[in-house]
Amino acid sequence: MLRYILKRILWMIPVVIGVLLIVFTLSVITPGDPVDNMVGPDATVEAREAAREEMGLNQPVYVRFVKYVWGVFTRLDLGTSYSNRQPVAKEIMHRFPVTLKLTLASVIVALAIALPLGVLSAVKQYSWVDNITMASALFFVSIPQFWFALMLLLIFSVKLQILPASGINGIRSWILPVAMIGVGNVGNLARVTRSSMLEVIRQDYIRTARAKGQRKSVVIFKHGLRNALMPVIANVGNTIGVSLGGAVVAESIFSIPGVGQFMLNAINSRDWPSVQGGIVVLAITFSIVMLLVDIVYTIVDPRLKTEFQARAKTKRKKGAAA
């Protein structure tokens, strides 16, 4: 197991290099001179050249890339922002906890709504409950996040005036952004839960449990849901990835100082070191999340744990034989 985790961590290195290569290439081939955004339209020619020199933009592209990758892996240096000349790593680390909090809260909210809905839908298949739940799921999956955020603002802040429209002062201010991202994810998770539950409740062991006279709730939640969770867990990893993306919209509209807003500003001002830094951090976060999901998988599904143990045993035997 440990070996597997270590292997997965090492695999993150080529993933990060790949991400860096793609983003770096995009930044190079995108038309426009980043110096325009560094020094502004009123800068002198000397100031423009000095900025180019200072940021190393007069060096060949491959030199810049190698230096950048070296800085990332040896000093955790994500470069210097073109906009405010601050270290990107510092800027991102300052904002990352906010984005993480927003993402995790929204995933928890999504799960809290989606799991019961998915189970209810499966248990009451083809009933009006199932139809309404699935139609709502389809609706929430389909609506654009941006529009949904503005609707939430309009209803709860402008019309009802019960929730703040911006900032992160106190728990009330988290409700709308978390709801915006969370509700968007409910549809997908509820649909996965439903289909997985439908598969499980038709299994023999569920029938056996029922035949043994166990209570319905025990059959559904202990025997049914536990076994139906596997695809849901796999989906949670993707949901966290989607939520990280959703945070960009939420942070921009609700004035939340997270990585998403930082990256959006950076994209608008062609601050490539900040964009690259943001993407690298999000890519690493996503890789870690997927690793954690895999570990949780092995805990929830004893078959996988046994498989790892069997593989290790075989390797030990082979080693001893050699």
């Binding site: 800068a43 429209a165 930082f262």
Partner: protein, 521 residues
């Protein structure tokens, strides 16, 4: 020249003294309170030390409150008045002596003196970030005469010198405060060297900036004890924050969204005309726009009134000249004796096109930096020119790459904001001696008449207001009749606010001034 300059000076000083008196004696309509003013702003500033950052619009509302300039600008009278300088006099065409207030201290408590004026200019020149504002100074000849008297020198005659000094990027700092606070770099995150009506408290990057009233301010004590500038990137969200009363003022709204606030007694829309102009610049260096008849036809085929109402909800004004009505150098077609082509007349447009080399129409690409108003303008122009058989392909690009195209001269026509109160700077777009790269745009009018170039040179060095206007009148006649550019509209500076908040001042130089804002009883 010196006599004319003296006349100009007398006029400027008279205005200055009158405005100064008004400033000193005017009584504030409020008693300072402990309230907080919350302002929704579109973007995170790139820094808080205005002398080494670009003068972009995300920075100006904050710099405005932290730093005072030597002189202020009064949009109503289109004149400059006292601020840190109480009076000034021209020694000659390129040297101006300023007398400074002796009761000004920085936010850190250090007194503001004449040497700080030179230090501020030197710091900005060294940073190089504000070349368009500080490039005019002749630093070697700027001198401190005593603690409260300074002589500023320019390299050339600068008719708009005082106007330029009233710009937000020319805010002054106190050297002792900069140095005691860790130098210029430290100022970017914790500015204490300004003398403005509000002091810096806290900057939560990407979220908000908090300011507090400067109790030692030399001018009127501001009404609001605290100001919170909240960063809300989306224009719709800014308006909704206002409607939900989470903020008191929403800056830079999309004008189309203001329709929802019009007539609502809870809110007020503050609307200020500017000398900015959104123009359609035609690339005169190549076909088809090297043909004067084509340019006139295009100018006559656009429905300016309808476009203004639809694309900018009417928040702007129309001009019969490439210079907007609010420009101090504007001369109307009637007064200037020229024929204007900047009105909708389809028949006249067809007649002009018939005289051109393209009587059956042509195709061209219309380049612009993507923005809601520009998108709508592009579509409207596309439809209207279709009536002439002119096929327009819209090329909306990211604002960040727009200048790459225009700098390379790689365009047929483009929409651009010409935003400079100094008309001499606007004229650069029509100056055939300046190439696309140097100009970072322009209309490539390579066959501009020599007479125009001579007049441009004359305008740059003419201090006398009457003479200056006469020269600009001749310039407008030549340019407007040749139509290298069509003025689509002059956008107003607009913000929306809670109607109980009074005293908000919007000017084209200072952006927004909270210092005189107060809550009405």
């Amino acid at each position: 020249m010196k006599k004319l300059a003296a006349l100009f000076l007398t006029a400027v000083m008279a205005v200055g003294i009158v405005s100064g008196s008004a400033l000193v004696h005017a009584e504030t309509p409020y008693t300072p309170s402990d309230e907080t003013l919350v302002v929704a702003h579109k973007g995170n500033p790139t820094g808080l030390f205005h002398l080494n950052i670009s003068a972009v619009s995300v920075n100006t509302p904050i710099s405005e409150t932290l730093y005072d300039r030597l002189v202020s600008y009064d949009g109503e009278t289109n004149s400059v008045g006292p601020m840190l300088a109480t009076e000034w006099e021209y020694i000659d065409d390129t040297h101006v002596r300023f007398k400074l207030r002796d009761d000004v201290v920085s936010h850190a408590g250090d007194p503001f003196k004449a040497s700080d004026v030179i230090y501020s200019i030197q710091t900005a020149v060294d940073s190089g970030a504000l070349g368009n504002y500080f490039g005019m100074f002749n630093l070697e000849e700027c001198q401190v005469e005593d603690d409260y008297t300074v002589v500023l020198a320019t390299k050339n005659v600068e008719p708009y010198f005082l106007y330029t000094l009233s710009n937000v990027p020319l805010g002054m700092v106190v050297q002792a405060s900069v140095e005691a606070n860790g130098g210029i770099e430290a100022q970017a995150l914790n500015p204490v060297a300004g003398t403005g009506p509000y002091k810096f408290v806290e900057w939560s990057d990407g979220s908000y900036i908090k300011l507090e009233r400067n109790e030692n301010y030399w001018g009127d004590t501001p009404y609001f004890k605290n100001v919170e500038i909240r960063i809300i990137g989306d224009a719709s969200a800014r308006i909704m924050n206002l409607e939900s009363h989470d903020v008191n003022i929403a800056l830079d709204p999309d004008t189309i969204q203001l329709a929802g606030l019009e007539g609502n007694p809870e809110f007020t829309i503050i609307n200020y005309p500017t000398s900015n102009s959104t123009d359609l610049l035609m690339n005169c260096s190549k076909a088809p726009f090297n043909d004067e008849h084509v340019r006139r036809a295009v100018s006559l085929a656009m429905n300016y009134e309808a476009n203004l109402m639809i694309a900018a909800s009417g928040y702007g004004s129309l001009s019969d000249s490439f210079l907007p009505l609010a420009s101090s150098a504007y001369v109307s077609a009637e007064d200037g004796g020229y024929q204007s082509y900047f009105h909708y007349d389809l028949e006249a447009a067809k007649a002009e096109l018939a005289q051109s080399a393209y009587p059956d129409g042509f195709e061209f690409e219309l380049l612009y930096a993507e923005a809601p108003a520009f998108n709508t303008y592009g579509e409207m122009i596309q439809n209207q020119l279709g009536e002439l058989g002119i096929k327009v392909t819209l090329v909306p690009v990211a604002s960040t790459v727009f200048y790459d195209y225009v700098t390379a001269g790689d365009f047929d026509a483009h929409i651009v904001n010409l935003a400079n109160p100094d008309p001499a700077m606007i004229l650069r777009d029509f100056d055939s001696r300046i190439d696309f790269k140097t100009m970072r745009g322009g209309c490539g009018w390579v066959d501009a008449p020599q007479e125009l170039l001579d007049l441009m040179d004359e305008a740059k060095v003419t201090l006398d207001p009457d003479k200056s206007k006469e020269v600009y009148g001749k310039i407008q006649k030549i340019i407007n009749e040749a139509c290298p550019a069509a003025p689509l509209y002059s956008p107003n500076k607009v913000c929306a606010a809670d109607s109980s908040i009074k005293g908000i001042i919007l000017t084209e130089f200072s952006d927004i001034d909270f210092s005189k804002a107060y809550r009405a009883e």
